[in-house]
């Protein structure tokens, strides 16, 4: 039931113009994700950790729409007259464990695969507290630690996708007024992308300005 409500919610949001693309999310098995997540937390031995990490990674939603659908929360909004009606994603209660604790630390997975999936999830994304915020935190760390490889993969995307990625990368309340110094490398190696970075950063500043 919660899933149906959530799908309707997304359909409504898509209809009203936000950049969420309607996608089929039914191929993700929630129970498997929970099971694999629990096994990783148990950390029985290195072999099983590798196995369950790979299974978890394969099963993890690889686009923002499904990621948001499973891990986030939708509410009717607050007003002085009526209580807030909340609809949690099926994995809402596991958001912190699955994203902050596991997904952001899947070092046993090949870095290139992790970067590719992180970029896929970021496309069309926007900041939100909790699940999205945990993911964005891990994304920023992944980019800072693997800047060259990350930029190389990003450069293979078209400009709109790059714009979408960088918007999500910078999005969030209280955005920094300048771009991080470690991105200065982009200015010389990918000048076109640097322009996109500056423009996306400015869009975020505009979104959150008072």
């Amino acid at each position: 039931m919660k899933l149906i409500v959530a799908i309707f919610f997304h359909a409504f949001i898509s209809f009203t113009g936000n950049e969420i693309i309607s996608q089929d999310c039914s191929n993700y098995d929630v129970n498997k994700l929970i099971h694999y997540g629990n096994k990783i937390v148990e950390q029985q031995n290195a072999d099983s950790l590798l196995l369950y990490s790979e299974l978890f990674f394969e099963q993890f939603p690889d686009n923002f729409n499904c990621f948001h659908l499973y891990y986030s929360i939708y509410d009717s909004g607050y007003n002085n007259q009526s209580p807030i009606i909340k609809t949690h994603g099926d994995l809402y209660d596991y958001a912190f464990q699955h994203i902050a604790k596991i997904y952001n630390n899947l070092s046993v997975i090949e870095t290139e695969k992790r970067i590719e999936m992180a970029i896929q999830i970021s496309l069309g994304g926007y900041w939100e507290a909790d699940a999205v915020s945990y993911f964005q935190f891990g994304l920023r760390s992944l980019l800072e630690k693997n800047t060259e490889l990350f930029l190389k993969i990003l450069n293979s995307l078209n400009q709109e996708e790059q714009r979408s990625f960088w918007f999500f990368y910078f999005d969030g309340p209280n955005p920094s007024l300048s771009t991080p110094k470690f991105l200065n490398i982009v200015k010389y190696e990918y000048p076109l992308m640097f322009e996109i970075i500056l423009s996306s950063h400015q869009n975020v500043l505009n979104k959150w300005k008072d």
Binding site: I73, A95, A100, A129, F137, P173
Partner: protein
Amino acid sequence: MASALSFSVNYSFSSLTAISDASGNLVESLSYDPWGRRRKPGNWNDYNVTSTMFDRGFTGHEHLPQFGLINMNGRVYDPFLARFLSPDPYVQAPDYSQNFNRYSYAFNNPLKYTDPDGEWVHLVVGAVIGGFVNWAANGAEFSAKGLGHFGVGALAGALGAGIGAGFGTLAAGSGSFGFMVSQGLTASGFGAGAAAGAGAGFSSGLVTGAGNSLLNGEDFSSALSEGLRSASIGGITGGLTGGISGGIRATKFGNDFWSGNGAGGRYGAILSYERASLPSNSSYISYQCRNFCPSKLIEPDRYYLNAERFVETENSTISNFCFPDGTDGYFLEPSGPSSRIEGSGLRISSGVYEVGSHNSTKFPNSLILKGVPGRSAILMHPGNYPCHTSGCLLPGLGYGTDQVNNSRDALNLLLELHRNSTKMILNIN
């Protein structure tokens, strides 16, 4: 403030009760109930006092009418609840059960005591009674020597009170009024009562014995000898009376006379007493969170949020508070020190703030703190990491290093509480 010269009349525990002009004509009358709540002087049932000439009032302290609170310097006090918003950092009299309720005002006995700064009433009371008793026991002379006896007694009384046995222990130390210790009611049993009484009696006996001997012209070794003798008497007397009263008190609460243990339980008995002593015309619920959260009081239409900062890193500050169901809530703020400078990016000053609803494009469903010194637009809005705030409070249901989680759930709970209360107040320390 009146334009002409005004005179205040202090009466009853230094409370401001009347204001006159230079000719002695009454300009304003003031009245308070025993717990300090302002009421109309002509009708003690009417608490609708909207404004007064001065903000000083009950026991000379500063009233905060917009919050219904009194600033007692060390702590902030709510005369409606008859409780402080934060606990007393000291338990001055461990053999006195009232002192274990660290939120209560002046041993829960406002007709007898005041709390000058929210923390050390026991020292003043101990000193005054100790001084008087010692002065009276040594001839009650109105002379320099008599003043000296009063000083020695005051020192011993404050010392005895300060180390934990309250004003009655001085009398035990002097050997003259030892039975007064029995007024230090406790549910802790004979053992704990005897230990507390003996310790306090010994120390105050030592001071009075030695001090009085020196005043009477004896040399130092004789004074020391007399001090030890008085200390022994004080220790034995205080121990016996404290032990007996502790045992009787323990029995009264259904516990063992000697150990204080039993079905009632030490803290169970105290909590029962605390609930029974609350004003009878309102319903209150007391909650105690699991971890760092201070005990707090809530009533249906006014919600008090007591948040205590307990983790500080170079990136953030995390505080803990209670939700009504007893679960813990947390706020993540920027790092310290606290700042009143707009745009500093540091956390706000500790204080008591009214919470209102807030709606903006950036944060459509959030809450705002009113009257934060030097800062504007301090919100409670969703967020998880220090980069999400430059002064606002990010609520959460869990916390880690430089983070809170389940922030939207926490904010939704706070919004619900705000929606169901006529006034919501945050006290953050």
